[in-house]
Amino acid sequence: MSRVIEVENLTRTFGHFKAVDNISFTVEKGEIFGFLGANGAGKTTAIKMLTGILEPTSGRGKVAGFDIITERNKLKFKIGYMSQKFSLYEDLTLKENIGFYGGIYGLRKREIAERTKKMIVRLQLGNIENTLISEIPLGWKQKIAFSVATLHHPDIVFLDEPTSGVDPITRRQFWNLIYQAADKGITVFVTTHYMDEAEYCDRISMMVRGKIAAMGTLDELLLKHTAKDMDEVFLKLARD
Amino acid sequence: MRTFLAFIKKEFKHIFRDKRTLLILFGMPIVQVLLFGFAITTEIKDGKMAVLDLAKNRMSQQYISKITSSGYFILEENLKNYSQIEKSFKRGTIKIALVIPEKFAENLGNNNSSIVQVIADASDPNMANMLTSYLSGISNSFAIENRLVPKIPIKIESKMLYNTENKSVFMFVPGVMTIILMLVSAMMTSITVAREKEIGTMEILLVSPLKPAIIIIGKVLPYLVLSLINAFTILMLGFLVFGMPMEGSRILLFLEILLFIVTSLSLGILISTIAQTQQTAMMMSLMGLMLPTILLSGFIFPIESMPRILQILSNVIPAKWFIIIIKSIMLKGVGIRVVWKETLILTGTSLLFILMTIKKFKIRME
């Protein structure tokens, strides 16, 4: 197995505040990696560094084989990103949105058309290619946003609280998409506040005040912290 | 009352903690007055002039030196005959030519209004206009000083008469004040109300027992105070830096300024009842208020020279009436008896806006 993320001693400070404090970890290809932590624990800062938006104060890292400091531009073609706030353009149709994002990643027209077709079949969306995004129900939008974020077949996709506020059935359908992507070898890096979703991940890391306080498979974490579920692990770690 | 005071206190805190607001509130008036006063004046200095003096006597010499000493004209050439005038214009050495007739001194005594002939280079119409009117102003005061005319010829009696020095900064001080008051009162208030809608605190305020009137007055009052401070700053700059005259009643001036602030504030609140976000509030006040005010109030472009349709349109711009009032009070020194009509128009507009606001202000959401 090859490593998609390799991070060593990554640190980022804002003034005197250490938002991310010397973290090191690796993520394997095709893994679903849960990245948990309380609000303000440093998750967002870490993700920004991994996606090449923010320069680390010290330390180094490679994502999808590219250096996150020196090769950010190449790196960006190999990653996908979707956040709770990331929304498609509401005033464009589904097709126009896909055309736009496909264009950003340099896909050819034929490729875009082909992948759009596949995506609509996969999501069982029916005939909505020319529907404005604003007229599409919320649950679908989230699924579409995910598919658009993976349209250019990235090596890794970063999901920042992708399912906040979504109903339980749609959430599970969303996770099905995540599994499908992982099955195809796309690495998934996901943050969530739903602890049951954390349990869906192959491996979970937990950030507390800028540091990674725990990392491992669900069973390892439960055993180590003598907890019955992830909720308990989270409470135990974040309260220390 | 305690509730109300708390509201006002909070409002001032918002203002003083936001550097951008502070900058707009206090930096902008000063910068604008100085900018307009010093840099962008449409005033013309050293207009190149040729004189064909056919009278050649003491009176015509005095007249010429009065003109050249004004600072607006430089005597470029002394001409000998009419044919030289055209040549000089063609060479481009002069912008204006003055012909003093043989019977200059006699004519002055005879109540004759067209004493001198002025030829201006109309390829630059603005400049030509300006120079001609400067010249007529100077001629006018020359006639009065020499007491050669018992009555001032009506034809020359123009606005220029009351602004004998022709200093355009006097025109800009009222103009800048109008714009700033509009900006602070209308734009800033509409933005702060929209801001509360955006962050969601408006929901809490509406659900609280606060009366809508308290919310509105609480929002408006701080900006009224700030607008007054601004008006004061601008006037002070006008007096101290540019030597602006103050001919009329100070109390009347204060009351008229207050009236215009109320007009602008009621407009701002009206906008905020419609706009849901700070961005819309800003766009509405900029496009809907600031632009028409700048373009149609007569501040930059004289209303008289606008197409008929725009002239009619300019009547609905409150700023137009305010500028007329301010100029009349400060430069002409007239009282309420002269500007009552304009004052009434502003009062009426304010009442209309306030009524519309009361009708539109929602105690609920949509």
Binding site: N39, P137, E161, D167 | A6, K10, I199
Partner: protein, 300 residues
């Protein structure tokens, strides 16, 4: 305390609320559970007198939300969705302001907010914008409580907040309910928070799916529920979905929750899983609120 009768509300063509009726008793901690877009916020705005329904009536303390809105506004506390306080004012200034808006002082009602205020006190001078998510939530709650409201409306107070802060927030609500007998209506998209309420209404697409105590609501689940743990849940789920006789199969944390059609036996299922070389364990469990919600959703 709160009576809602046949309320409907539409925005243009979208039906936000569709003929909703609810009764909430005094002193209850009532949960309105449902995803985004279910109509929770619309219902809150109608109850807090901010919106007028198209049809139906709602009364709070026997006061009508449309005609007696002034009286109601004096007696309720409201915390809108998302953080809605003045971010450029400090913690203390926000509290003082809201106290004065309701014509009261922090001191006169200190007992009620003490427990929460103690946590905020170290940050008294800090601007609200510089607070952490959990702290902001606590401050907003304090502000909504400052005038001793009889009814407290909290619209998604824990949305986007991490589990630790969420737990603390709920502890605070519990305490308030015990000591001050406040009627609290709280909405949330997190199903697990339902268990912390006295009574919950499940809401989806503008309709109430069920109203009951958290304990009883799971009894509406009509099937026998099984929990299956396997060595590869995703693959197992794909297989289960293709099998005959499976009524529903969903991922739940590290296991799969499964219901069977009447014809199907658990033993049959085990055989099939073994035949596909899965390692697994299977047991009968009690359904939770999320299971129930999902079943009710599918029936709709």
């Amino acid at each position: 305390m709160i009576e809602i009768k046949n309320i409907s509300k539409s925005y243009k063509e979208v039906k936000a609320l569709d003929n909703i009726s609810l009764n909430i008793e005094e002193g209850r901690l009532f949960g309105l559970i449902g995803p985004d877009g279910a109509g929770k916020t619309t219902l809150f705005r109608i109850l807090t007198t901010l919106l007028i329904p198209n049809r139906g009536t709602a009364t709070l303390m026997n006061l009508d939300t449309v005609t007696d809105y002034k009286k109601i506004r004096r007696q309720i506390g409201y915390m809108p969705g998302r953080f809605s306080l003045y971010t450029d004012l400090s913690v203390q200034e926000n509290l003082e302001f809201f106290a004065k808006v309701f014509n009261t002082t922090i001191e006169s009602n200190f007992e009620m907010i003490r427990d929460i205020y103690v946590l905020l006190e170290p940050f008294k001078k800090r601007k609200a914008r510089d607070l952490s998510g959990g702290m902001k939530q606590k401050l907003a709650l304090c502000c909504a409580l400052i005038h001793k409201p009889k009814i407290l409306f909290l619209d998604e107070p824990t949305f986007g907040v991490d589990p630790v802060s969420r737990k603390e927030f709920w502890d605070n609500l519990k305490k308030l309910q015990k000591t001050d007998n406040i009627t609290t209506v709280v909405s949330t998209p997190y199903m697990d928070e339902a268990a912390l309420c006295n009574e919950v209404a499940l809401i989806q697409k503008g309709k109430i799916l069920a109203v009951d105590t958290p304990g009883n609501i799971s009894k509406r689940f009509t099937h026998k529920l099984f929990e299956i743990k396997t060595n590869n849940n995703y693959k197992a789920l794909l297989l289960l979905r293709k099998m005959d006789g499976i009524n529903s199969a969903f991922m739940f944390g590290n296991s799969i929750h499964l219901t069977l059609n009447n014809s199907k036996k658990v033993t049959q299922l085990s055989t099939e899983l073994t035949a596909n070389s899965f390692k697994f364990s299977i047991k009968n469990i009690e359904p939770n609120i999320e299971d129930t919600f999902m079943e009710l959703m599918q029936k709709e």
